[in-house]
């Protein structure tokens, strides 16, 4: 027998209260884990962005086109290893118009030099290159739309009107977490041949890979300088900087989520503090007995901290236990399938798990500090006089 084991037994005295408190705090842990995972997966695009990749777009706006020939100019810039151009397509599935996914026209022979973390089987790649209407589809999107190699797909153009026919040539997966696996790629040539004359030979952006990632700022500046005297000027930045500027648009949402997480933690302290204070109040007389037989004020304080610690550990463990299936298996799969662009990789980070358990433990101790201090300071005769 030890003081800690007595503290643990005290928790079993009011099983319902303990269970509800642990569950309440566990739900707070779940909410915390969910929000933190959302934030980390959102920033995964920045964190996992290839450091040696830069993108060039129209200086004025992302939606204005660049001439396709700029890609050839960029390929000649010293320090550039590969370059490839891209065009937004913006097609929708006529059968399910709410199913948004990125669909992009790409330069067939160079795209995999740029996005080498897209994993495609060699035979799929060969099939794609051989088929003018061929498309490469992300594994998550393919699963969602029920597509397999050889299927025919029709997309309705929004930027480029009409019904567009494609054949699924291959499925890609990702070897790094930065790539959204619900995209749809097809040959830029196919698009270019089919659009009216004024829209020909246009691209939305040009991506390049560099020999030396540390020189990305320098090379970006060099590229923009070349086009400064041309009729269309460019803005070039690293993939990381681009993702950051994209995220900056959502910074208000991110801070709001952070604030919600803090509110959740405050609620958790209140739930825990309430339970602990109730237990302490009911057991005041017992603390008086402990003090009478010679236990020190600090023993009583530690005794109460011990109870709080036990609740905190339980809440942390139970919270993580429910977070894994809910956040990672249910929400995570749903978000990756439906909002893969924003959450390409929705998994609970190890740091989040550690933080959740540590917070549950620390906050329950914090919540018990005042009741513990007051119980320790109580006069023995007052405590003994207290009727439970």
């Amino acid at each position: 027998m030890s003081l800690l084991s007595i503290a643990a037994r005290n928790l079993l005295r009011n099983k319902f209260r303990t269970i509800f408190t642990v569950l309440g705090a566990a739900v707070a842990v779940l909410a915390f884990v969910f929000i933190q995972t959302m934030l980390t997966s959102w920033s995964a695009g920045v964190e996992f962005a290839a450091k040696d990749r830069i993108a060039t777009r129209h200086k004025v706006s992302m939606i204005l086109p660049l001439p396709k020939r700029y890609a050839d100019t960029i390929r000649e810039v010293p320090g550039v290893k590969h370059a490839s151009y891209f065009q937004w397509f913006g097609g929708v599935d006529p059968k399910d118009k709410n199913n948004f996914f990125a669909n992009t026209a790409v330069e067939s022979k160079t795209v995999f030099d740029i996005y080498d973390e897209m994993v495609v089987a060699p035979e799929d790649k060969a099939r794609w290159l051989a088929d003018r209407q061929g498309a490469i589809v992300g594994a998550v999107l393919a699963k969602k739309m029920g597509l397999k190699v050889g299927d025919r797909v029709t997309l309705q153009g929004t930027i480029f009107p009409g019904d567009w026919q494609f054949n699924v040539s291959g499925i890609y997966t990702a070897s790094r977490r930065s790539i959204d696996q619900s995209q749809f790629f097809f040959h830029w040539d196919y698009l270019n041949e089919s659009v009216p004359e004024p829209q020909r030979d246009q691209v939305a952006w040009i991506s390049a890979r560099l020999d030396d990632p540390t020189r990305s700022a320098e090379v970006s500046a060099a590229i923009d300088r070349i086009f400064d005297e041309k009729d269309v000027q460019t803005a070039t930045m690293s993939e990381r900087a681009m993702n950051l500027s994209f995220m900056a648009m959502f910074s208000a949402v991110l801070s709001a989520l952070d604030a919600v997480s803090i509110i959740i933690l405050v609620i958790m302290v209140m739930i825990l503090g309430n339970t602990i204070a109730m237990g302490v109040r009911e057991r005041t007389r017992e603390y008086g007995v402990l003090r009478a037989v010679g236990f020190q004020p600090k023993h009583v304080g530690l005794f109460i901290l011990g109870e709080a610690l036990t609740i905190g550990v339980l809440a942390g463990v139970v919270g993580l236990g429910i977070s894994y299936p809910l956040v990672e298996l249910m929400f995570g799969r749903f978000l990756e399938e439906n909002m893969g662009g924003m959450f390409p990789y929705f998994r609970i980070a190890p740091m989040t798990m550690v933080a959740a358990v540590l917070l549950a433990v620390t906050l329950s101790v914090v919540a018990s500090l005042i009741p513990a201090y007051r119980a320790a300071k109580l006069s023995v005769t007052d405590a003994l006089r207290r009727v439970a």
């Binding site: 005290n10 009478a292 037989v293 010679g294 236990f295 003994l384």
Partner: protein, 231 residues
Amino acid sequence: MGEGQREGKKPIVELDGVGKTYFRDKEPVVVLDNISLDIEEGSYEALMGPSGSGKSTLLNLIAGLDRPSRGSARVAGQELSGMSDSALATFRSRTMGFIFQAYNLMPVLTAVENVELPLLLTKLSRGERKKRAQTALRVVGLEERMNHYPRQLSGGQEQRVAIARAIVNDPRIIVADEPTGDLDRKSADEILTLLEKLNKEFNKTILMVTHDPQAAERATVIHRLDKGNLS
């Protein structure tokens, strides 16, 4: 015992002009006025008086649960009036055994664990603690109930467990505040017999507050308290 002899014939409790004033809404309430009292080691003394006369307050001062507002209280050779909370706790754990009217056992602990509780403060090994707790339970005749929880015991049995807890650290003084107040006659007599045995066989100094004249009869000395003064 040994220590008592070394102090010669000095009483184990010496109160000199002890008073206790509580403040209720800033109004002073004099609960103990001016108490001077000596108690010899090994005696068995009862404290009687009307409700509210300050019996429990006086007992608590002697036991080191509270400090006097004035005067000097020397118990077992130590002056209690200036001691810190923590020093008082140490004093209690070495010198005092407590018996309360409401038994005050920990409901989550078995009989033997309740008895062992004060020993958690000592350096004794787990096995030694358990052995001593069992011995104390044997003294009160409850060894076979050692694994029962308080709710599984009768009031008289609970009080005997409480007595075992009070003697497990071998204190020189046992204070009992209405130890038979909640018990029927038969159980009360058992408890009183037990206290007598502790006094006679183990030479414990016993100070007992009681309303029950039959209980007080067992003591060698009866003090009467009225409105904060001994009469």
